[in-house]
Amino acid sequence: MDYFLNLINTIGIHTLLGLSAYVLLLTGQLSLAQAGFFAVGAYTAAILTVIFGWNILPAIGLGMLSTGSLAFLVGFPALRVRGLMLVVATLAFGEFVRMFFYNFEWRVIQEGVEVGPEGTMGFSEIRYFAEHGWTNWEVTSLIWVFVVIVMALIWWADQTRSGAVLRAVGEDELAAGTVGIDVMVTKVAAMTVGGVIAGLAGGLYAHQITMLDHHAFTVLLATFAIAYPILGGVSSVFGTLVAVIFIQGLLVEGLRFLGDWRMLLFGALIVVVMNVKPRGLFDSQMLRWIKNALRLRFSRGLS
């Protein structure tokens, strides 16, 4: 059971990471900075619980706050550029953050042992869950409470005008400007929200994995962050979840029994999916299909 809970936790965390990119993707922005925000959130939360002995919730909260404000500040200069330029700019930002933690050292003595981030040696023994006797069920529910809340919020916002405005900017920036939408503000807002969500994911990740170092926050992670919403499709938040289950559940864990052939299949399957379903696994037609299915179910239920 333990194993499946662990897998579910991973899926939860990666879903949050994917959603942080999803929000930006709505406005047509492709950001590789999410891994950077993820890292900042992770280190902040971990430092607060390990060095300052905070409770995990405020720790993660402060982590989200810091990543949010960081994203806000980065947003203004970064979003001046578009398309590939933005991809590379955000990629560079992510690398910058990574290298910061690669040089970042803050060791303190606690009960005779030295704890805290130690540059390239990493930041180990973030054992909040274990030390406070959290069972896996509790960890899983903590993570998924957050996942559900975030998904619900985004899904709901998507029904409201704010969601429509985000998508409008994503569809056609110029037209959006000429109907009175402040494109810059919209984008920066999306960036900030994305940052907050990535920070949340990072905070949870740090305590789930118990050890942080710069290897965990490379371009690879950033690529995964955008891969989820792209693979899943931006027509619905559930797309991201589906994609995470596809990658983490199927490709990474599910195919483990294939041994060293697994990773070969990994890349190939991504290529195949993008060719078969360019708009994502969970595209609008799939959405319609499901809606109809549900409607049928209901009507049957009523009659």
């Binding site: 330029m85 700019a89 060293d260 399957l269």
Partner: protein, 298 residues
């Protein structure tokens, strides 16, 4: 005074070495920029195809003990084929306007190529032959590596050849036409797909040479080189200005020397930070890169 001269020599030497190494970045940058210029799309798998080309040429060397020139040719050829395959699998059948899907597919391509290489080589670093490895010229206080010079020259030749193809042949004309106005080009009866695939093949050729160059310059091939090379290539592309070949060349050489000087002055821990900072400076003060055209189309 003496140690001033000492420092001066050292720094200029660093610039020189970096400059020579920069030629590999330049070629990778050109590859990215070619494909972006032609399709407006990002082929993440590009550097991977380059390295794959180098690997296949290494196989030729190991099994048939071919000369270095052959190696470069083989590397270029196989990378060209790979480039075409990448086009088929990641771009050809994906809707033209769906840039995200195409990019994602090429990411998948990168993972796949990378893993194939690891699978066949067990990820072990492999020794790569280099010509004139023994030639090391001492010019006054300076030292120049013969094989690096050789690599650099090959870089120049291939770039020259590319420019000739682009600006003196019909193929090049078509490519640039498609790049500038694909609709108009289609109306003139050009096949977008054939042009694109040739672009990928040509880019692949360069990539293969770049891969072999890098391998020859370092002397080894290892899968851990792939990601850093991809990132550097992208940075060079952007600094040079999207779709600008001279831009990519100059940016490549520039980044090469810049990072090497920083390496000398500040050390490894800060080298890449400074490169990234350099990129930011460009994005803020020259958002379209060195030679990028300003995009005014609405």
């Amino acid at each position: 005074m003496d140690d001033f001269w000492f420092e001066f020599v050292e720094i200029t030497q660093s610039i020189g070495d970096g400059f020579l190494f920069g030629s590999t970045y330049a070629l990778i940058g050109i590859g990215f920029t070619l494909i972006f210029g032609a399709m407006g799309k990002l082929n993440i798998a590009y550097a991977a195809t380059a390295m794959a080309g180098a690997y296949s040429s290494l196989a030729i060397f190991i099994f048939f003990d071919a000369s270095l020139i052959i190696i470069f040719i083989v590397s270029a050829a196989s990378a060209a084929i790979l480039g075409y395959l990448v086009y088929l699998s990641c771009f050809r059948f994906i809707p033209v306007h769906n840039h995200l899907a195409a990019m994602m597919a090429s990411v998948g391509g990168l993972f796949f190529i990378d893993e194939v290489i690891v699978h066949t080589t067990r990820g072990s670093p492999l020794s790569f032959p280099s010509m004139f490895a023994e030639a090391y010229f001492e010019v006054g206080p300076y030292g120049i590596r013969g094989d690096l010079l050789f690599v650099f020259v090959i870089g120049l030749i291939s770039t020259g050849a590319l420019l000739y193809v682009l600006f003196r042949t019909r193929l090049g004309l078509a490519t640039r036409a498609v790049a500038q106005q694909d609709v108009a080009a289609r109306l003139c009866g050009m096949s977008i797909h054939s042009t694109n695939s040739t672009t990928f093949a040509v880019a692949g050729l360069l990539g293969g040479i770049a891969g072999a160059m890098t391998a020859a310059a370092v002397g080894i091939l290892s899968p851990v080189m792939m990601l850093p090379l991809t990132i550097k290539g992208l940075i060079v592309t952007v600094i040079g200005g999207l779709g600008s070949i001279p831009g990519a060349i100059i940016a490549g050489l520039f980044v090469g020397s810049f990072e090497n000087v920083v390496m000398y002055v500040r050390g490894i821990d800060e080298r890449d930070m400074y490169v990234v900072a350099l990129l930011f400076v460009f994005l803020i003060f020259r958002p379209n890169g060195l030679f990028g055209k300003t995009i005014t189309r609405d």
